[in-house]
Symmetry: C2
Subunit: 139 residues, 2 copies
């Protein structure tokens, strides 16, 4: 990706109702352009050489802010953070936004196509991860 210059970044932040500080631009420069899916700490480590004195708290808060404003998405895919599932046969999962609870969705309840057409990968396993809320939950 062509590195965006700082004026583009500042404009982009302001379009999203974010005031552009030097720290925020430095963080945006990395995290909005990367092809990776970095953890917060990886962002901190990536920004530090550029901007040595940025504090960890600022990076965490800024990523949270960018997410609220729609510039980033959070994914729960970081290796090293594992839950265990005693149901070892293939199935899908629903994650409740409010509680974080994980529920099983039977394999046949959803239909996934074209996985075998993916190029360049040996697929070991796949599942659909659905996020949302349980309906009819008491206020």
């Amino acid at each position: 990706m062509a590195a965006p210059n700082d004026n583009d970044l500042i404009a982009r932040l302001e379009q999203h109702d974010i005031r552009a500080s030097a720290q925020r631009v430095a963080i945006a420069r990395y995290v909005l352009a990367t092809e990776d899916h970095p953890s917060a700490d990886e962002v901190w480590k990536a920004v530090t050489p550029d901007f040595p004195m940025v504090s960890r708290a600022t990076v965490y808060n800024t990523l949270q802010l960018f997410t609220e404003k729609g510039l980033l998405r959070q994914l729960v895919l970081a290796e090293g953070c594992i839950v265990y599932d005693p149901k070892v046969e293939p199935h899908h999962h629903f994650v409740d936004d409010e509680t974080g609870a994980i529920e099983d969705i039977p394999w046949t309840a959803l239909r996934v196509g074209k996985v075998d057409e993916l190029e360049g990968v040996d697929v070991r396993d796949y599942m659909v991860v659905v996020r949302g809320r349980r309906k009819g939950r008491r206020r």
Copy 2:
């Protein structure tokens, strides 16, 4: 789920080439019967009242062992362990088993059906998570 008795559990462990110790049975009693998707520490906390002196290392090692032997599956879905994705439009993800690297899969490369037929949930978002290896990787 009907609580399995210890003899059933021991048999099940031995069928999977796992020698049945008291600690392993206590861990199995909880983790093989739960409907939850507990983290390792949640398993530890669940087993402790039952078996107060079981050490954290034992629980972690045992869950790893059970996974290798096919009694459990590890899922990367635990809340609180987040990576950031600058691509906010819907897309799917491939996770490389060897490196943990996460790559994007375009939305249209896969087809997911019947999500709107799920009962009792308001779907906010969903994606397919594919795991496996990149083909043609050097030895």
